[in-house]
């Protein structure tokens, strides 16, 4: 167990390091002059200024040296300063993080709970109306792009309600949880749904498919034969075995979550990490881009380790070694 953890953490660090090298390489190969960008109209007047700023930023040094400096500062918790807003990157991330965390966590709860629940309902009633409805919903959910769904939800639940004189869901913005929990939730309901639907569809299909298979196995027959209530058979015995691929999928989805977050934040005007990173890309704000990419990679790696640990909890047959 301990050996397993150590090995996973080490390979995880390796993956994060590789990604940091790739991001760093990609952006420093980019043909543009940061100092010129920072100085704007002053650059044209004063070539010496451009040179001194380039020197201050350490951009006149060879790329491997720059990378070593970057790594050194990173290990001390210093991610540098934004080229654009001149604030420390850690401050910017600290501001944007709660927004993205609220959005992602809420959506993950919705897609996991609802997705698995609908999957169970439809697996225990194969070929019923509910099952067919769930299958159709899953396919539709998979086919609607996130940004289209978000805009359609805005059109119906913000604009049409607004026209009808009901202002239930705001069209954009974010209210911190600590300021007003009710407003926090109201602002996030539509983004949560937008982000959750596509992923939820995957979980409905996965849970249904797995559970149908598991319910045909011998240990389920044994459980029924010893007189357990059907609910207990399905949820305690069946679902537990069926959840393993669902957990695997969850690990993968945490990785792709940032993609959905970028789009959802763009549609609903939420100033989280996703929007911040898109703005950083358009502004060529490298320190911010690198920080967000690394943060996302760390999350993926951690999620995958947690997933591996969960396997052992869910299925005692799996021994971690």
């Amino acid at each position: 167990m301990a050996r397993f953890l150590i090995r996973r953490v080490l390979t995880g660090l390796l993956v994060v390091w590789l990604i940091s090298v790739i991001v760093f390489g990609l952006f420093f190969v980019a043909p543009h002059n940061v100092a010129q960008l920072l100085l704007g109209k002053f650059a044209a007047q004063n070539q010496q200024l451009v040179q001194s700023v380039t020197h201050q930023l350490g951009l006149d040094q060879p790329i491997p040296v720059q990378y070593a400096h970057f790594l050194w500062r990173l290990l001390h918790g210093d991610l540098g300063y934004s080229y654009y807003s001149h604030q420390p990157v850690t401050t910017l991330i600290a501001q944007a993080f709660p927004v993205t965390a609220s959005l992602a966590l809420g959506a993950a709860v919705i897609w996991l709970v609802l997705g698995v629940f609908i999957g169970v309902l439809s697996a225990t009633r194969p070929r019923s109306l509910l099952d067919r409805g769930a299958t159709l919903f899953a396919l539709a959910g998979l086919s609607v792009p996130t940004f289209v769904l978000g805009l359609l939800l805005l059109f119906v639940f913000f604009y049409q309600l607004h026209v009808a004189g009901v202002d239930l869901f705001p069209g954009s913005g974010y209210v911190p949880l600590t300021t007003n929990p009710g407003q926090w939730a109201m602002h996030l309901v539509l983004p949560w749904i937008t982000l959750a639907v596509a992923t939820m569809a995957v979980y409905v299909r996965l849970t249904r498919g797995q559970l149908v298979e598991v319910l045909g196995e011998d240990f389920i027959r044994t459980a029924r034969a010893k007189g357990l209530r059907e609910g207990r058979v399905v949820y305690r015995h069946g679902l537990r075995a069926a959840l393993i691929p669902v957990v695997t999928q969850f690990g993968i989805d945490v990785g792709t979550l940032l993609g959905g977050v970028i789009v959802t934040e763009q549609v609903f005007g939420l100033n989280g990490l996703g929007r911040m990173s898109v703005q950083a890309v358009t502004n060529s704000d490298e320190p911010v881009i690198i920080a967000v990419v690394l943060l996302a990679a760390v999350f993926v790696v951690v999620a995958n380790i947690v997933v591996d640990l969960l396997y052992a909890v869910l299925d005692p047959r799996i021994r971690l070694s």
């Binding site: 390979t11 390796l14 993956v15 590789l18 990604i19 990609l26 952006f27 190969v29 980019a30 396919l139 539709a140 998979l142 086919s143 609607v144 792009p145 996130t146 940004f147 289209v148 805009l151 359609l152 805005l154 059109f155 604009y159 993968i252 990785g255 792709t256 940032l258 993609g259 970028i262 789009v263 763009q266 549609v267 990173s277 898109v278 890309v281 358009t282 060529s284 881009i289 967000v292 990419v293 996302a296 990679a297 993926v300 790696v301 995958n304």
Partner: protein, 306 residues
């Protein structure tokens, strides 16, 4: 008893020849009986035709995708016009015909969607087969590589690449393929690991066949079914990916129409011009739905147990 006059009896019809039907023929027959699959295939065929005939359609409509109709295409307040006899699906914020633009947008969606899916599958099959067949040393390197690609925040990276290299249709295909092949690779690797233990592979090996020959002759044909299914299901994913890039402004550059950049334009106008958002959105949803449903049917037809 009178002898039966054989000559007076009607000739028996010749017994139908017994046809051997291979698994592919069976799958094809199942697919043709599937009404959903046939409907989706027809929809996709029509879409393909529309994309190919975009130019004639725009001539018939009387507008090019970038023509700004200042007479019937834009209201006195400078707002988009609703569907009318002049513009069947209405106009956008610059007075351009939505129908013609959606027709041209289908070219982008199909070219990038299908192109990226095919490239991704090609890379995925080659890498996955090598990882699965060539032994643990190659496998661990390639598997790590796939892990790295899969743990990239891919949308952010796609955006970054597009800003660095300058957005274009070809770059979109490359970016989408780059972030999709690893998923295919994983599946192919798993299948290959199972196939390499089969008796016929062992037989080929003991007859002296080299790894390349075994991979091409014994392994590859057994991968065709999952690969076909995966390609069909990867196309809608690529189409959504393309439209997302265009929506975020790093895909197809205006004024060239794509469904994604049309929806992006529509975002500021949905309160006054529902058609501007609805029609490109509907085109996108119906197309991905058709590919997804077809992919599902293909999987059922190839593997009726599943």
């Amino acid at each position: 008893m009178a002898a039966i006059d054989l000559g007076s009896l009607p000739a028996l019809p010749a017994p139908p020849a017994i046809e051997g039907r291979g698994p592919w023929q069976l799958a094809w027959a199942r697919l043709r009986r599937d009404r959903v699959a046939v409907t989706c295939a027809i929809f996709i065929a029509v879409l393909l035709l529309v994309a190919l005939l975009a130019k004639p359609i725009s001539v018939l409509a009387g507008y090019s995708p970038t023509d700004q109709d200042r007479v019937n295409g834009i209201s006195p307040d400078g707002l988009p016009m609703p569907p009318s006899v002049h513009h069947w699906l209405g106009t956008d914020n610059l007075g351009r015909d939505l129908l013609v633009r959606i027709v041209y947008g289908s070219q982008v969606s199909l070219a990038v969607g299908v192109g990226a899916a095919v490239v991704a599958v090609l890379i995925g099959v080659i890498v996955g087969m090598c990882a699965g067949y060539l032994g643990p040393a190659v496998d661990s390197i390639l598997a790590r590589l796939m892990d790295v690609v899969l743990s990239f925040p891919f949308l952010l990276f796609a955006i970054a690449l597009a800003t660095v290299a300058g957005p274009s249709e070809l770059l979109e295909i490359a970016v989408i393929a780059f972030f999709s092949w690893a998923a295919v690779g994983r599946i192919v690797r798993g299948q290959t690991l199972a196939i390499r233990e089969k008796e016929y592979v062992e037989a080929a090996r003991s007859l002296g066949a080299g790894p390349l020959r075994i991979m091409l002759v014994d392994v590859l044909p057994n991968l065709v079914a999952p690969v076909i299914v995966y390609t069909t299901l990867l196309i809608p994913v690529s189409i959504v990916f393309e439209s997302t890039l265009s929506y975020l402004g790093v895909g197809i550059i205006p004024p060239t129409p794509s469904w994604g950049n049309m929806i992006s334009d529509a975002q500021s106008y949905y309160q006054v011009a529902w058609w501007f958002l609805l029609f490109p959105g509907l085109a996108l949803i119906l197309t991905t739905l058709a590919f997804n449903l077809l992919g599902d049917s293909v999987r059922d037809a190839l593997d009726p147990r599943g």
